[in-house]
């Protein structure tokens, strides 16, 4: 129990005293998870829209695969991406291993199924009178697509929050692809794993509290944004 209380105190000290290492870890975490969510939304929103809106052969099978990938273990993504971007891998020449870009690419792959699947479900869940209403009011082409996505914005917010939660809390990818390099690729989760491994539970709990606070802040911001929308 003592180390829990100690953890709270250490968390406050790290933040209030402006501990550079802690802030570097927080910054790296925010950077990789924010970039991952941006890329996954850019790829996932149109894919999810098409998966729900268009009819094409193999649609059900693709949907089944995407839904299965929701439970993708982070270490599995990590090992696959590691195989691709390591020196001997097909993408080895891009030198992505142990870089922020590598973690972002792998995290994007990890959370993309969440964005695609939840976006598709959000679009499918819309009232079937919506499309007729938009067309009768004169919407065409892109206007129609954006209006439909806008109508599903609350469910898409939820998809984004869920995906962000998965990205910010994963450890397998950050450890395998990032390598937990101090001042460079160390994220909060890899730092927690390291500190706990060293036996410094209080530091691990302090970082955990910071991670939870960030998650809470992001969620509250999105809830505010949702209310405003």
């Amino acid at each position: 129990m003592e180390y829990l209380i100690d953890g709270f105190i250490r968390a406050a000290q790290l933040l209030l005293r402006g501990n550079e290492e802690a802030y570097s870890t927080i910054w790296t975490t925010l950077k990789v998870s924010s970039l991952s969510i941006i890329f996954s939304l850019l790829l996932g929103l149109p894919s999810g829209f098409m998966l729900s809106y268009l009819n094409f052969p193999g649609k059900k099978q693709i949907r089944a695969v995407v839904d299965t990938l929701l439970a993708l273990p982070t270490v599995v993504v990590g090992i696959f991406i590691y195989g691709f971007i390591s020196k001997r891998g097909p993408l080895g020449e891009f030198n992505l291993l142990f870089t922020i870009s590598g973690i972002v690419a792998a995290q994007t792959i990890l959370i993309l199924p969440i964005v695609i699947s939840l976006t598709a479900s959000a679009i499918e869940g819309l009232d079937n009178r919506l499309m007729l209403t938009l067309i009768t009011l004169g919407a065409k082409g892109k206007q129609l697509v954006f209006s439909i996505i806008y109508e599903a914005r609350y469910a898409i917010f939820t998809a984004a929050v869920t995906a962000y939660g998965r990205a910010i809390s994963e450890v397998g990818i950050s450890m395998m692809i990032g390598g937990n390099i101090k001042w460079h690729t160390r994220t909060i989760t890899t730092a927690i794993a390291l500190e706990s491994g060293k036996g410094d539970f209080a530091m691990g709990i302090a970082l955990g509290i910071i991670l939870l606070s960030i998650a809470l802040f992001v969620n509250c911001s999105l809830i505010m944004l949702r209310r405003k929308a």
């Binding site: 209403t133 009768t136 004169g138 109508e151 609350y154």
Partner: protein
């Protein structure tokens, strides 16, 4: 070679349309002229909504041709869709403010000028205070208010064709009355072609220049005849009844099915100033004359009588009108035989 009259806005030729072989709309020939108001009457599932979606270019019929403004619509650019707007039977409001709902169509057309002023004007047309309603969210409206917002979002577009699928069903009387006023006003102001379906036959008779009856996917007649919708219930012997609002009954012979539509020729109705007894006619109903006008029939006067929630038109000679001293507002007795009702 199909000839298209300059005055015709729609010319529908040999269209056939169905869903999973269960329902089939078949219209060999239908012309709708520019600026007219045409009403459609039919029971639920008769094909009105399907026809309306085809006329609004939301669905393409399996077979047949539609000419709009003299041109075959297939292969035409989507811009013609901007000339036509449809209000669905159960309108859908976008998850936005009332103001955003109303100006959505204008924005889609690239119109950005005076949006606030135009939206406020459209709200006033449907009897909603712009100050109170423009910033309300979609979920802060009653059913009738939502319907009025949906109507306003169509009226603001000043479309060439306004298609309304039962615009006053399932809403409060005040909203229904305001919607009817707005529709009439917009038609008079912008010469909009109106295509309407409604179970409110009294209003439809007023607003429509011509009424068509649609049954089982086919246009089965025109509305110069009185239309009495089911349901019909078996009474005794060969007689079937429809119960009116205050419990009074209309007697008829056996219908094709309990939901059949009965047609009653206006010339088969007798009007009397006092209640008749000892006569063979089964239907002797009390009503109030609501309007009188020149009938299409030579030298006859069309007298509309409202009877416990339904409106019946009777064609009388000028002599009869004079003798009976008929005037709007007068209480009269309407008499017709059960066998005068013909089934659709």
């Amino acid at each position: 070679m199909i000839e298209i009259d300059n005055t015709s806005l729609y010319r529908v030729i040999n269209i056939k349309h169905g869903y999973n072989n269960r329902f089939r709309l078949e219209i060999p020939d239908l012309t709708i002229n520019k600026g007219i108001s045409i009403g459609f009457i039919g029971s639920n599932g008769s094909g009105k909504s399907t026809l309306f979606r085809i006329l609004a270019f939301l669905e393409t019929p399996s077979e047949g041709t539609i000419f709009f403004n003299g041109k075959n619509v297939y292969g035409r650019p989507l811009s013609i869709k901007n000339d036509v707007t449809l209000l669905l039977q159960k309108p859908y409001l976008l998850k936005r403010s009332v103001f955003e709902n109303i100006v959505y169509g204008l924005k889609m057309r690239g119109e950005k000028k005076n949006l606030k002023q135009r939206a406020f004007e459209a709200l006033r047309w449907v009897g909603l205070s712009p100050e109170d309603f423009s910033q309300r969210r979609w979920f802060e409206l009653s059913g009738g208010e939502a319907q009025r917002v949906a109507i306003a979002s169509r009226l603001i577009l000043k479309p060439k064709v306004l298609i309304l699928d039962e615009p006053t069903s399932n809403i409060d009387q005040l909203s229904a009355s305001l919607i009817k006023e707005a529709i009439t006003a917009i038609r008079n102001r912008f010469n909009t072609t109106l295509i309407i379906s409604s179970h409110d036959h009294v209003w439809l008779n007023k607003v429509a220049d011509n009424i068509l009856i649609i049954h089982n996917g086919r246009i089965t007649g025109s509305g110069t005849e009185n239309i009495i919708e089911g349901p019909w219930y078996h009474d005794k012997d060969d007689l079937w009844i429809k119960t009116l609002l205050d419990g009074k009954k209309i007697f008829a012979t056996k219908p094709l099915n309990p939901d059949s539509i009965a047609l009653l020729n206006p010339s088969e109705i007798i009007i009397a100033n006092v209640k008749q007894s000892h006569i063979s006619a089964q239907n002797i109903l009390n009503g109030v004359i609501t309007s009188m006008s020149t009938a299409n029939e030579f030298e006859k006067i069309k007298v509309n009588v409202e009877i416990h929630g339904i409106s019946l038109a009777c064609n009388l000679t000028q002599h009869a009108v004079h003798e009976l001293k008929l005037l709007p507002g007068k209480n009269v007795w309407v008499i017709f035989k059960a066998s005068s009702l013909k089934w659709q």
